[in-house]
């Protein structure tokens, strides 16, 4: 990993403990600080996935989750903090795939930190949120996209940085309406997550009066990598005509193979082809170029969604501390959920949290592998308060019962 002179200087202000990965030499150097120094300690709890098989040789296997985004944000918080006497530390707890995140949480985090960024599976996120009940802990979930965690399983102390599946599906729905793709052919993978995305897509179809003319499940009964050409022709031959094929394949196990191989020549959207994402390497609008470059220089790779979510989580805390001049968790939490809170996230609109479910309000990028195609909300989809709330579960639809 190479560092420019400037970023090395930035590292001086950052305390990184227990970093099992990407350990860098952090020189100890005392800098002159204002007298009333406010320190905010943030923990990050990440559990590694079992390494996935990448379909394409050009996709790098990324083992770390969003930690590098968190590190960039801590540096930025500290640059601002240095001017006004605030300092931020990040302590990383990275748990192997087969270990218990709950144990690490109970031993090292609860009672010791007020702020926790989680990069965990939906099940583990919920388990940690339940362990954190009655505790002075704000959890910033930078990994899950589950609508259940934002509805019936929502927890008061959790904020969600990534857009939910419903928000993504609505982004695709809005763009479909704009392009008059009124007839969808839905192809769903075999993973449980794919079923959840398919449900979100069906909710969207209903909302926007899009007809799902066919739905088929991809069964993985053969090795797609070898026999795809013959199989996909057969698999995609359906009676009704359709405008666009919508794929639900979150693990990227087969979706890349559909394009150019379908029986009818139709575009692919969904998790492959034109996909709805929180962040993408092709995004260069609204100053995004700057953070793309900063991240790549530091991390040696492109910023992914979880990096972006972890970055935003820590920037959101930084922004709240800067504005409230407080490090008290209840004050910060209240401020972050209030309409006074605005966060800049390189997506053209100010970001904020939905008070009813803790979801970060944000535009969604509709990106092809090599180009940014559109940004939702698509012009023309109106909302009495903010057009960002045309994506996902709006207040009246929410099933989340938070106390506040």
């Amino acid at each position: 990993m190479t560092f420019t002179k400037q970023s090395k200087y930035l590292w001086l202000t950052v305390f990184i403990g227990l970093s099992l990965f990407f350990v860098n030499q952090v020189e100890a150097k005392s800098t002159v600080k204002p007298a009333s120094l406010l320190t905010v300690n943030i923990a990050i709890l990440a559990q590694l996935d079992k390494p996935a098989i990448n379909l394409s040789i050009i996709d790098p296997v990324v083992l770390d989750k969003g930690e590098l985004g968190a590190e960039l944000a801590i540096q930025e918080n500290n640059i601002t903090g240095e001017f006004i006497g605030q300092s931020f530390t990040l302590k990383k707890f990275i748990v192997p795939a087969n270990a218990h995140a709950e144990t690490v949480f109970n031993e090292h985090i609860v009672g010791k930190f007020n702020y926790l960024v989680t990069l965990l599976s939906p099940e583990k996120t919920l388990a940690i949120a339940d362990l954190a009940r009655q505790q002075a802990l704000l959890i910033l979930d930078a990994a899950t996209v589950d609508d259940s965690l934002r509805n019936t399983d929502c927890r008061e102390s959790v904020l969600h940085l990534l857009p939910s599946r419903a928000m993504r599906a609505d982004a695709l729905g809005q763009y479909s309406i704009k392009k008059r793709w009124h007839r969808w052919f839905l192809v769903v993978g075999a993973e449980p997550a794919d079923q959840l995305f398919a449900e979100a897509l069906k909710r969207t179809a209903k909302r926007f009066n899009i007809k799902i003319v066919a739905e088929k499940q991809w069964s993985h009964t053969f090795d797609a990598r070898k026999t795809a050409q013959a199989e996909i022709d057969v698999f995609t031959q359906i009676e009704d005509d359709y405008d666009v094929m919508v794929v639900a394949d979150e693990q990227n196990l087969f979706g890349e193979y559909l394009d150019y191989q379908t029986w009818s020549p139709r575009p692919i959207i969904g998790t492959q082809g034109l996909s709805a994402v929180a962040w993408h390497p092709t995004h260069d609008l609204w100053g995004a170029t700057q953070i793309q470059k900063r991240f790549k220089t530091q991390a040696g790779r492109w910023m992914n969604e979880q990096d972006y979510a972890a970055y935003l989580a820590i920037r959101a805390l930084g922004e709240a501390v800067t504005r409230t001049h407080s490090s008290a968790w209840q004050a910060l939490k209240n401020f972050m959920l209030s309409d006074r809170f605005v966060l800049q996230g390189y997506k053209g609109s100010a970001l904020s949290f939905r008070a009813w479910d803790g979801q970060l309000r944000q535009p969604i990028l509709l990106a092809a592998p090599r180009s940014l195609v559109a940004v939702a909300p698509i012009e023309g989809f109106l909302h009495p308060k903010t057009e960002l709330d045309t994506l996902g579960y709006d207040a009246p639809e929410s099933l989340c019962k938070r106390k506040e």
């Binding site: 930025e76 001017f83 800049q344 100010a350 903010t386």
Partner: protein
């Protein structure tokens, strides 16, 4: 959007430009060029290639030289303002986006967005005198007319940094609302006006106390708050009116300086970015980033009188008398 062009089109029908002859240079971010416009004829004269991703653009005080920040080439280029022949490269540091020229000595202050620094350049010697660390993503930069202060707005740190020109040291930082984009001094050097893109706000800072003394939140009927993203701004030399480009709200707000209220909203082109006065301050020119045109506004009538296609992603403007 269609409506917007219709209104502008109608303005063009009543076209009458009574200003002095001058030349407007417009940097075109995606064309790697600058457009040369004759506002009297209302015509694009030519487009001149300058380098990759030109953004910040300004003339020397004597209007003999034109400087263009060519961001992706990491330099600032100096041109003969009459012939547009390239004269020199200035060592601007990484990714120069915007810069400001001192009104008296030959100093240039450059925002290095990627390095969180301001570079101070000796324009004649073409050397970097010093670099001043500021917040993350410095963008807007201005020198006070009395040449005492340089102010720099950092977009991600959300601060205005005050740098004394006598020793190039940062002496104060003012926390402002999210994503401050552009800033300008009033003619008397007593105030700094700053726009916050994300809060949709204008803030007036007192140069003595370095505090925010007044604020104005923009509202446009029929446009949601998120679309109102103030960027480029100017205060006229008599400090009677100020003008703020509202980005994707496609309007320029005309502000009464005395009571800080909006007098009028002028519909220009899509994502209006930076603005510039004509030399006599009777007209205002705007670079409309997404509709690829430049609007001409008659400041006596407060009317958009013309829109001229200039090229892809117009960013900034410089006016040569």
């Amino acid at each position: 959007m269609k409506k917007c062009f219709r209104v502008v089109g109608l303005g063009a029908f009543l076209w009458a430009f009574n200003g002095e002859a001058e030349t407007v240079f417009v940097s075109l971010e995606k064309d790697n060029a600058i457009a040369v416009v004759d506002p009297v004829a209302g015509k694009l004269l030519k487009t001149v290639a300058v380098g990759r991703r030109p953004r910040g653009i300004a003339l020397s005080t004597d209007a003999k030289f034109l400087y263009v920040a060519v961001s992706d080439d990491n330099i600032i280029k100096k041109f003969n303002a009459d012939t547009l022949t390239e004269l020199a490269d200035l060592p601007s540091g990484n990714d120069p986006e915007t810069f400001a020229l001192s009104p008296v000595d030959k100093r240039m202050y450059v925002s290095n967005e990627d390095d969180s620094q301001i570079s101070v350049i000796d324009v004649d010697k073409k050397t970097v005198l010093t670099r001043i660390p500021v917040g993350v993503e410095p963008e807007g930069i201005a020198v006070s007319p009395d040449n005492q202060w340089v102010v720099s707005a950092s977009e991600t740190t959300n601060m205005v940094h005050w740098i004394e020109t006598k020793n190039y040291t940062r002496v104060a930082n003012t926390l402002v609302d999210p994503r401050p984009r552009a800033l300008t001094f009033t003619a008397d050097s007593k105030q700094v006006w700053v726009t916050s893109e994300m809060a949709g706000k204008l803030m007036v800072l007192d140069a003595k106390t370095k505090q925010i003394i007044k604020e104005l939140v923009f509202e446009v009927e029929g446009v949601t708050a998120e679309k109102i993203q103030p960027v480029g701004l100017l205060v006229d030399k008599h400090m009677q009116r100020a003008y703020v480009a509202l980005g994707p709200a496609n309007r320029i707000a005309v502000i009464n300086v005395a009571n800080l209220t909006v007098e009028k909203m002028l519909l220009v082109g899509a994502r209006v970015w930076n603005i510039a006065f004509s030399a006599d301050q009777k007209y205002l020119y705007s670079a409309n980033g997404l509709s690829n045109d430049m609007s001409i506004i008659d400041l006596e009538q407060l009317k958009v009188i013309r829109s001229i296609g200039v090229g892809t992603n117009p960013w900034g403007l410089a006016v040569k008398p």
